[in-house]
C-alpha cells in the first residue's frame, strides 16, 4: 500500500491539474469585455470528488485487481453449439437474418427504418473501405472523396440530364472507381502514413473544389430536389410527375408515405447484400489473396512475381467504387447534398468503423457500422453530452477490444492430439 501511495498522489495531482483551470474556472464574455468566473461550489465538489476517486482507485489498485481475478470469468464457450453443429446451422442462420431484414421494416416505425437505411449506407462504406484498409493494408484517410464523387454524380446527372437513380447507380460506381484509379496511381508508391496524409489531402481538395465550383455544383448551396429511386418506373410520391405513375395508384392502395421509406430501405438492403456477395467472391479470387499477401509481406510478394502497384490499385479502385454506390444512394435518400456532408470527420468515422469492426472481418464491420450509427442516436437523450460520450466510447471500445469487435479469422485446420 505504501508503495502505491506515491503513484496515487501523482495520479490525483494530474487529475486536479486537468480539471482545475478548465472546468473550475469559466471565461465569460459580457459584451466587449472578457472576464473569468469561478465555477459554483457544486462543480468544485465534483472536481474534488474526481480527484479523491482517482486517488483511492490508484491506492487500492493492487487489491482491486486481485479481487477481480478471484471472480471467475464466465465461460460462454460451453453454451455455444459444437463446431459441426455450428457449421450446419450457419446457412439457416443466414437465411433467417436475410428474411428478417426484409420483413422487419413492415413491423416497426418509419423513424427506425430510416435510421436502419442510414446504418446500411455506413455498412456499405465500411465494407468498401475495409477492402482498402483491412485487406490491402493501405491507410486511406480521404475515403469520403469517393463517397462525394458518387453523390455528386447522381445529383448532377439527375439535375442536368434527368437521368434516373438506376441509370446513375452504375455510372456513379464507375466514376468513383475511375477517380480512385487516377488518384491512386501516383500515390500508391508512398508508404504507410505518407499515403494516409496524401489521401487526406485529396479528400479535402475534392471537398473544397466542390465548394468553390459554384457554377456547376451550386457551391455551398448544394443541389436540391434530387429524385428518389422508383420501382420499375413507379414513383413513391403522393402525386405522380408527368408521364409516370405512382406506386399506390398502380396497385390501387391508399397512399402511405412510409412506403417510400421502406422502399429506400429495401434498396439499401439489396445494395448491401450485393456488396457483401461481391466482396466475398473477390476475396476468394487470386486478386483477393494477393491483397492480403501484399499487406502481410510486400517484398515476398514482389519476389513471387506479383505486381504491387496493380494489386494496390485494384484494391483502391474497388473500394472507391463501393463508396460511389453508397454516395449515389445517399444523395437519393437525402434529396439534397452539399459539400458539408463530406468532411474529414466522415472519413474518420468510416475508418473507425473498419478498425472497430476488426480489420478485414466483414461481419465485424457490419456490427461496428451499426454501433457507430445507433450509438449517437441512442445518446440523443443526453442532448449536449452526446458527442462527448461518442468520443469517450470510441476510446473505451478500442481499449476494451483492441483487436476489434470480431477480428478476422482465417479458415484453419487443427490437428487434434488426443
Amino acid at each position: 500500500m505504501q508503495r502505491a501511495l506515491f503513484p496515487a498522489l501523482f495520479a490525483a495531482g494530474v487529475t486536479f491539474l486537468l480539471t482545475c483551470l478548465v472546468i473550475g474556472v469559466r471565461l465569460e464574455q459580457e459584451g466587449p469585455t472578457l472576464t473569468v468566473v469561478g465555477a459554483d461550489a457544486s462543480t468544485w465538489g465534483w472536481i474534488a470528488f474526481a480527484v479523491v476517486v482517482v486517488f483511492l482507485f490508484q491506492l487500492f489498485q493492487g487489491p482491486i485487481s486481485r479481487l477481480k481475478q478471484r471472480i471467475p470469468s464466465a465461460d460462454a464457450t460451453g453454451l455455444l453449439p459444437g463446431e459441426q453443429m455450428r457449421n450446419r446451422l450457419k446457412p439457416w442462420l443466414f437465411s433467417l437474418i436475410i428474411v428478417g431484414l426484409f420483413v422487419w421494416p413492415f413491423m416497426v416505425s418509419r423513424g427506425a427504418v430510416d435510421l436502419a437505411t442510414l446504418t446500411l449506407i455506413y455498412v456499405m462504406l465500411g465494407l468498401g473501405l475495409n477492402i482498402v484498409v483491412g485487406f490491402a493494408g493501405l491507410l486511406d484517410l480521404g475515403y469520403v472523396a469517393f463517397y462525394a464523387v458518387g453523390a455528386y454524380t447522381y445529383a448532377l446527372l439527375s439535375e442536368y440530364f434527368g437521368l434516373s437513380f438506376w441509370a446513375c447507380l452504375p455510372i456513379a460506381g464507375l466514376l468513383a472507381a475511375t477517380f480512385g484509379c487516377i488518384l491512386g496511381f501516383p500515390v500508391l508508391r508512398l508508404r504507410g502514413d505518407y499515403l494516409a496524409i496524401v489521401t487526406l489531402g485529396f479528400g479535402e481538395i475534392i471537398r473544397i473544389l466542390l465548394n468553390n465550383w459554384t457554377s456547376v455544383t451550386g457551391g455551398p448551396n448544394g443541389i436540391g430536389g434530387i429524385d428518389k429511386p422508383s420501382l420499375f418506373g413507379l414513383e413513391f410520391s403522393r402525386r405522380a410527375s408527368e408521364g409516370s405513375q405512382t406506386f399506390h395508384e398502380f396497385f390501387g392502395i391508399d397512399y402511405d408515405s412510409s412506403h417510400k421509406v421502406i422502399f429506400l430501405y429495401l434498396v439499401a438492403v439489396l445494395l448491401v447484400l450485393l456488396t457483401i456477395y461481391v466482396i466475398n467472391r473477390v476475396q476468394r479470387m487470386p486478386i483477393g489473396r494477393a491483397w492480403e499477401a501484399l499487406r502481410e509481406d510486400d517484398i515476398a510478394c514482389r519476389s513471387l512475381g506479383l505486381n504491387p502497384t496493380v494489386i494496390k490499385l485494384s484494391a483502391f479502385t474497388m473500394g472507391a467504387s463501393f463508396a460511389g454506390f453508397a454516395g449515389c444512394f445517399f444523395a437519393a435518400r437525402q434529396g439534397f447534398i452539399s459539400p458539408e456532408s463530406f468532411t474529414f470527420i466522415e472519413s474518420a468515422i468510416i475508418l473507425a468503423i473498419v478498425v472497430l469492426g476488426g480489420m478485414g472481418s466483414q461481419f465485424g464491420v457490419i456490427l461496428a457500422a451499426i454501433a457507430m450509427t445507433i450509438l449517437p442516436e441512442l445518446a440523443r437523450e443526453f442532448q449536449e453530452y452526446r458527442m462527448l460520450m461518442f468520443g469517450g466510447v470510441m476510446v473505451l471500445m478500442m481499449l476494451w477490444r483492441p483487436q476489434g469487435l470480431l477480428p478476422m479469422k482465417r479458415p484453419h485446420l487443427e490437428l487434434k492430439t488426443s
Binding site: P32, P220, G224, F336, I337, S341, R386
Partner: protein, 373 residues
C-alpha cells in the same frame, strides 16, 4: 363469412381503443423544435430554443390553445444535413405535426421536403436561403426575411449613399454568406459599380493578413462582407493592426455583441443590415424582462422570430379551431398577424410579405443605431 365479421369487429375494437388513447393525450399538443443543440453553431440553436420555449410557456400560462397545453420537444440536428433528415423522419414518426426549425439552411432544405410530403407544418425562424421556399411548398413558412431582401437593401444603400470608388465583396464560402455577397455584387454591377475583388475566405480561419495585404494593395475603400461575426471580427481587428482603414458592411450574421469583443475599436462605424432589434421595441419590454428573469439573453437575432413562429401557429389554431396543418397553412396565407416582430403576413411561397431589415451603424461597445435614410 364469419371470419370476416370477426375481423371487422376486431378492427372496430382496435379503432375505438386507438381513439380512446388519442383522446387521452389530446390535452397536450407537441411542437417539435429542431435545430443544433451540439456542434459549432449550437449558440444559434439556443436562440431559437429559448424564443420558442418562452412562447410555449406564455401560451400555456394563458390557458393553452383550444383547451390543449403545448409541449415543446427539442430535436438536435447539429446543423448536419444527414442528421436533419433523420430528425425529420423521427418527428414524423413521433406523430408531431408542427415544427419550429430548422436553423441552418442546409439542414432546413432536405428536412422541408419530408415535412411537406408528410403533412407536417414547419416554420423556420432562422433559415434565410431563398431556395427553401422556391419549390412552392404548401406547409413551409418562415418568420425571418430572405437573404435576397437583405442583399438588395445593402446594395441599394451602397450605391445610393456610399458610392464607393473601389469596392471589394468578401464572403465565407457558405450558403448564407456567398448568397448575400453574390446578390450585392450583381446589383451593384448592374448599377455600374464593379467589384474590384470578389473572393471567399475559409470559415474558421484565423489569419487574414494575406487577404488584408491584398485589399490594401488594391486600394479598396469599401468592403462588403457576407458571412458571420467570427471571421469579420478578425478581419476588422487585423485590418486595424495593418493600417487598412476602409469602411465595412455586413449582414445580420455579424450583428452580435461578440463582434465588438473580437474587433474591439475597429468595430466602430461598421454598417450592417439587421432585423429590427425586437428586444429594443417598447411593446416587447415585458417579454424581455421575462427572458432576463430566466437568465436568458433575448438579444439574439432568432429569439423573437422563433417566438413569433409559435404565435402565428397558435393564433391560426385558435381561429380555425383545428390543428390540421393544411387548414392552418391556408389561414396563415389569408390573414395578417400581430406578433412580437410586428404585424406580419405570408405570401404564397410562405415568406414574410414585408422585409424586416434595417440598416444600422455598429459601435465599439456592442450597441447599434439605425442609419437615417
Amino acid at each position: 363469412m364469419t371470419k370476416k365479421a370477426t375481423f371487422g369487429k376486431t378492427l372496430v375494437a382496435a379503432g375505438t381503443l386507438m381513439a380512446a388513447i388519442t383522446a387521452a393525450h389530446a390535452d397536450t399538443l407537441k411542437i417539435g423544435i429542431a435545430g443544433p443543440v451540439t456542434g459549432p453553431v449550437a449558440q444559434y440553436g439556443d436562440m431559437q430554443k429559448i424564443g420558442a420555449m418562452m412562447a410555449i410557456d406564455k401560451i400555456n400560462e394563458a390557458g393553452g390553445v383550444n383547451g390543449m397545453t403545448l409541449e415543446g420537444v427539442i430535436y438536435d440536428d447539429a446543423c448536419d444535413p444527414k442528421q436533419a433528415v433523420a430528425v425529420a423522419n423521427r418527428i414524423v414518426n413521433d406523430d408531431i405535426r408542427h415544427v419550429i426549425g430548422h436553423l441552418c439552411s442546409s439542414s432546413t432544405e432536405p428536412a422541408s421536403d419530408i415535412y411537406e410530403e408528410e403533412g407536417v407544418m414547419m416554420i423556420t425562424a432562422a433559415s434565410t436561403s431563398p431556395s427553401i421556399t422556391e419549390k412552392g411548398y404548401e406547409l413551409i413558412f418562415r418568420t425571418i426575411g430572405l437573404d435576397s431582401l437583405q442583399g438588395t437593401l445593402a446594395a441599394d444603400y451602397i450605391k445610393d449613399k456610399i458610392k464607393p470608388q473601389r469596392l471589394a465583396v468578401i464572403h465565407d464560402k457558405q450558403q448564407y454568406g456567398e448568397g448575400l455577397a453574390t446578390t450585392v455584387k450583381e446589383i451593384l454591377g448592374d448599377a455600374g459599380i464593379e467589384s474590384v475583388m470578389f473572393e471567399g475566405v475559409t470559415p474558421g480561419d484565423k489569419d487574414f493578413s494575406a487577404l488584408i495585404a491584398k485589399l490594401k494593395r488594391n486600394n479598396i475603400d469599401f468592403v462588403y462582407y457576407g458571412g458571420y461575426h467570427p471571421e469579420l471580427g478578425l478581419i476588422l481587428r487585423q485590418s486595424r493592426e495593418k493600417g487598412f482603414d476602409a469602411a465595412f458592411m455586413g449582414p445580420e450574421g455579424v450583428v452580435n455583441s461578440d463582434l465588438a469583443a473580437i474587433a474591439g475599436d475597429a468595430m466602430e462605424g461598421v454598417l450592417a443590415t439587421a432585423p429590427k432589434s425586437f428586444d429594443q421595441s417598447p411593446e416587447n419590454a415585458a417579454l424581455v424582462e421575462a427572458f432576463k428573469e430566466r437568465n436568458e439573453d433575448p438579444s439574439g437575432p432568432f429569439v423573437f422570430p422563433a417566438y413569433s413562429a409559435i404565435q402565428v401557429m397558435t393564433e391560426a389554431m385558435d381561429a380555425t379551431g383545428k390543428t390540421d396543418p393544411f387548414e392552418l397553412a391556408e389561414h396563415l396565407r389569408a390573414n395578417r398577424f400581430d406578433t412580437t416582430i410586428g404585424e406580419i403576413g405570408f405570401d404564397a411561397k410562405g415568406d414574410l410579405t414585408e422585409p424586416t431589415f434595417e440598416i444600422y451603424t455598429l459601435h465599439a461597445d456592442g450597441s447599434k443605431t439605425p442609419v437615417s435614410k
